[in-house]
Amino acid sequence: MEKKGTILAENIIFIVLNLVFIMILFFFIFLKSGGAAVLEEKYAKKIALIIDSARPGMEIHLDMEDAIKTAEKEKFPLGQIVSIRNNILTVKLREKGGYSYSFFNDVEVNVNPDLDKREYYFVISKKQ
């Protein structure tokens, strides 16, 4: 009787350890794929390409739910996530971070956050 009980406990420990192991693995993948650095690069390049293909007079709305969520977690001001200086765009989701990428379209870009809709919108106009 005693022996059977030991075998069961061993099996349970074995299964639990396996599950813990797999959970840690998935947590690592989740952490890596949704990391602030990855999102910063993804959005910086995405927005730069959008601006490159835009024409004066356009207004582009971009859903940034996951980036805003990350910035909230990092306690970074949500209105300062996207900034543009000359033709260099920077996406910043944490205090010690940020990713910059340049765009070649020589237009004026007005960056506006719409935090209720969890998005940013960009107004493209001709450079004065």
Partner: protein, 169 residues
């Protein structure tokens, strides 16, 4: 006999964990490699650049009238087409190159080159191990008409380098 079986089970579970660690290590390595590699958007950038220039030169299939024989347009090509080739401070050299040729039959009636001419060496290189580190090129050709219905062939070559931002160096 029973004792031996228990011993064998323990050995199997040790092997099982060893396999689990190997699999986990491989997954971690793959994820780290995948997400550690920057997104390469240069090919898209070259295509967008070529399209922007095409839109600048030709509107609804008709060639802009102030292009041919206009040296002002040629000299201020980037400004005329609303292009800015400045990049991040980390790049020492210009990261773009653009060449536009307009041909009427076999005569070249317009030609302009802007940016870093050295990048042209990256185009046409056979695919190889180092290919990723070279600049990306895109060629575009299309026909356009002027107001007198003369046909022009427009050739655009656009090149983007920005290797450090798009490839793990």
């Amino acid at each position: 006999m029973k004792k031996n079986r228990r011993g064998a089970e323990k050995i199997i579970s040790v092997y099982w964990f060893a396999i689990l660690f190997i699999v986990a290590g491989a997954v971690v390595a793959m994820v780290a490699i995948f997400y550690g590699k920057p997104y390469d958007v240069r090919e898209l950038e070259t295509q967008i650049l070529a399209n922007s220039v095409a839109n600048c030169l030709s509107e609804t299939g008709y060639l802009r009238e102030d292009i041919i024989g206009n040296s002002d347009f040629q000299n201020n090509f980037l400004k005329e087409c609303s292009l800015n080739f400045n990049t991040e401070k980390e790049f020492d050299n210009m990261q773009y190159f653009l060449r536009v040729e307009i041909l009427q039959g076999s005569n070249k009636v317009f030609e302009v080159s802007e940016g870093n001419l050295n990048l042209i060496a990256s185009c046409g290189v056979e695919a190889g191990i180092e290919e990723e580190r070279l600049a990306k090129c895109s060629e575009k050709e299309f026909y356009s008409l002027d107001s007198s219905k003369n046909v022009y062939l427009i050739k655009i070559l656009s090149i983007v380098r920005k290797t450090e931002k798009n490839v793990r160096v």
